[in-house]
């Protein structure tokens, strides 16, 4: 079809035909790299969205639970010092420069470990909570939090990072020291919710950073979906 002998219309038609043929054959070419990057980018976005959703849910949940605990825990100005025992709950607090310098792997691993442990503690809250409605809400939140843990694991595997060993990290001491009295138990609950809230704020920032670092999703031609 290609007429070399100087007929411009025939020439361009030939090229066009060639291009069409090439495009139609494209779906057969595997586009693995593109899909992977597309996958990681989407996973990070989904995880980010999930942290925002959870943060929003936690606000209502925490409000209800602190009211159940009663004063002073439900007072807005309540600002107790941290007791040594509260150190078991993983803290989101980190030096500014250290946080900036975290590798993607370290960043994701920190999130994964933190939420796994927080999930354990939160499940421990379940049995003792007051009303059935509160228990139901806690249960729902736990499921969503589990979803977050799974989502983070998904991001790590799509980027090729190994999952941190064991959800608890350093294992919880068997029969973790139960609070000696009711007030201290409530303090534990208070700090758990506070740390959870702070972690969710931090994760939003962590995933923002990750979004920028993972290369943007490559747009691949998916003509087979269009039945060509």
């Amino acid at each position: 079809m290609l007429n070399v002998a100087g007929e411009p219309p025939g020439d361009s038609w030939g090229i066009f035909a060639f291009l069409c043929a090439a495009l139609c054959n494209l779906p057969a070419v595997p586009a693995l790299n593109g899909t992977e990057e597309l996958g990681a980018g989407q996973s990070i976005q989904k995880t980010y969205d999930l942290t925002r959703y959870l943060e929003h849910q936690l606000r209502t949940l925490a409000g209800t639970y602190l009211n159940y605990l009663g004063p002073p825990f439900n007072e807005p100005d309540f600002n107790p010092p941290r007791l040594a025992r509260a150190e078991q709950v993983p803290s989101a607090t980190v030096d500014l420069d250290l946080w900036r310098g975290l590798t993607d792997n370290a960043r994701l691993a920190a999130n994964y470990r933190a939420y796994s442990r927080l999930l354990c503690y939160l499940r421990g809250l379940d049995g003792q909570a007051g009303t059935a409605e509160l228990r139901h809400r806690l249960g729902h939140f736990c499921s969503s939090l589990q979803g977050l843990v799974v989502s983070i694991a998904g991001v790590m595997s799509s980027l090729g990072y190994p999952l941190p060993a064991g959800p608890a990290g350093p294992p919880l001491p068997p029969g973790a020291p139960a609070a000696p009295n009711d007030f201290l138990k409530k303090m534990d609950d208070f700090w758990l919710l506070k740390e959870l809230q702070t972690w969710l704020w931090r994760s939003a920032k962590d995933f923002n950073r990750l979004k920028k670092k993972v290369p943007p999703a490559v747009v691949t031609l998916r003509l087979e979906a269009r039945g060509f």
Binding site: R52, E55, D77, N79, P81, R82, S91, A92, T93, V94, D95, L96, W99, R100, W191, K194, E195, Q197, T198, W199, W201, R202, A204, K205, N208, R209, K212
Partner: protein, 441 residues
């Protein structure tokens, strides 16, 4: 303008007159007439130094004398001033800012001021009756103890740190000192005072994502009392960026309902890559009160596509961290008018200038203008403006379309009704009318 006088009787020297030049030189440790620095050849700079030093010394002394005799009193209080060490029954004269005070305010040698107000601030002096020897002097400052100060803390440069600023809700009329303390958990942090603006200090974050709240306490103290206020907050709660900068709005050529708006991140926000901002745009035509809003999660530009054609718009943008904190204040407002098509064949100057400055004015065709050109719909309105070119154009049109028309047609055109073929003329008339109307607005 207070005179330099011998205030305490201790013989402090003054430099205001020559008679004390001996004392003055004693202070410097040289005998009069000998210049310090020793170079006879260049006495002038040394003299300047000497005089300057003298002035400084005297000024310091004068100040220290005055500082020790300042009296602060509350508005509405009763003030009793004693004339130094004079007895109660001594004959004295009091002056306020140099003006004699009436004896009715005196109780013996004590000066009684009842229910003092702000106008009674000033210098009060007590002179011995006959010798007019100054016995006592004080500065009275009438004021109020401080009311609870207003404190505000904000982070407009997250994650670098935050600043706190404060002010008094009402003046005290006397000097106040402010002390600010920032406690985080068990640790006290130092809030560095800013040089400008005053009444502001800033703190750098060393750690992020803290669960423990910050507690900032401001104490204001003056001679009449003290007051304080506190703020307790989470690191995230006080994040509020500055408004977006360099907001620009432009019309889009050939699009009468569009406006392109672009802006920049506030320059105080240190790390928009890791801490992205989202934006809120609001816009309305000047003539309406209702704003329209758009929230933008990405990018620093937006195209408005539903602007009313030809109307001037006012547009503002606000910013917020994607996840935490509150919205910034609205940016500086910008005005813009969407692109409008320039009407062809304008006959009045006013219309020409209005459309060429399309971005700033609201285009209104002046009601008295008639568009009088060859396609005019109602040519009879243009009687005064008709020119022969118009008539020639019309006549040539008719001759082109209907060369076979007889005088009957011409009779119709010029105002009569001849025997016409209605459809032809009406059709053409309609078309003309339609075309004319398009251009009319």
């Amino acid at each position: 303008m207070a005179k330099l006088t011998d205030l305490s009787g201790e013989g402090w020297p003054v430099a205001s007159s020559q008679k004390n030049s001996t004392d003055f030189d004693e202070k410097l440790g040289t005998s009069p007439g000998v210049w310090t620095g020793g170079e006879m050849a260049n006495p002038v700079p040394s003299a300047c130094c000497v005089v300057l030093a003298a002035v400084v010394v005297v000024y310091a002394q004068r100040h220290s004398q005055q500082d020790s005799h300042i009296q602060y009193e509350r508005v509405g209080a009763d003030v009793t001033m004693k004339c130094g060490s004079m007895d109660w029954d001594a004959a004295v004269t009091w002056t306020a800012n140099g003006t004699d005070i009436d004896d009715s305010h005196l109780n013996g040698s004590y000066l009684i001021l009842k229910n003092v107000d702000l106008t009674q601030s000033g210098q009060y002096s007590c002179y011995e009756g006959s010798s007019w020897h100054l016995k006592y002097q004080t500065y009275l400052r009438v004021g109020t103890p401080p009311k609870e100060p207003v404190l505000m803390c904000r982070s407009n440069n997250y994650p670098k740190g935050f600043y706190c600023s404060w002010h008094l809700p009402s003046p005290t009329y006397i000097p106040n000192s402010f002390n600010i303390s920032v406690i985080h958990g068990t640790r006290e942090m130092v809030c560095e005072k800013d040089i400008f603006p005053k009444n502001r200090c800033h703190i750098r974050y060393l750690q992020l994502f803290l669960t423990v709240k910050y507690k900032v306490t401001l104490t204001v103290t003056n001679a009449l009392g003290k007051n304080s206020t506190s703020l307790t907050f989470d690191e995230f709660a006080i994040v509020k960026p500055d408004p977006p900068e360099s907001v620009v709005a432009k019309p889009v050529p050939n699009n009468p309902r569009r406006l392109e708006v672009a802006w920049q991140n506030p320059s105080s926000w240190p790390d928009p890559e890791s801490f992205p901002l989202k934006f809120f745009l609001r816009y309305r035509p000047l003539i309406l009160d209702q704003w329209q809003h758009v929230e933008l999660l990405d990018g620093t530009s937006h195209t408005i596509t539903d602007a009313y054609a030809g109307k001037e718009y006012i547009i503002q943008v606000a910013a917020k961290d994607n996840d935490i904190g509150t919205w910034s204040d609205w940016s500086v407002a910008v005005h813009a008018t969407p692109w409008t098509e320039e009407p062809k064949h304008l006959t009045t100057e006013a219309q020409v200038t209005e459309t060429t400055s399309a971005s700033t004015s609201y285009f209104v065709p002046p009601p008295t203008t008639k568009i009088c050109d060859w396609w005019a719909v109602r040519p009879w309105q243009c009687v005064g403006q008709l020119d022969w070119s118009w008539l020639l154009m019309v006549s040539s049109l008719f001759s082109e379309y209907a060369p076979s028309w007889g005088h009957e047609r011409w009779g119709w055109v010029l105002g009569g009704h001849g025997g016409l073929r209605g459809s032809d003329v009406v059709g053409k008339g309609d078309t003309k009318q339609a075309v004319g109307e398009e251009h009319w607005v």
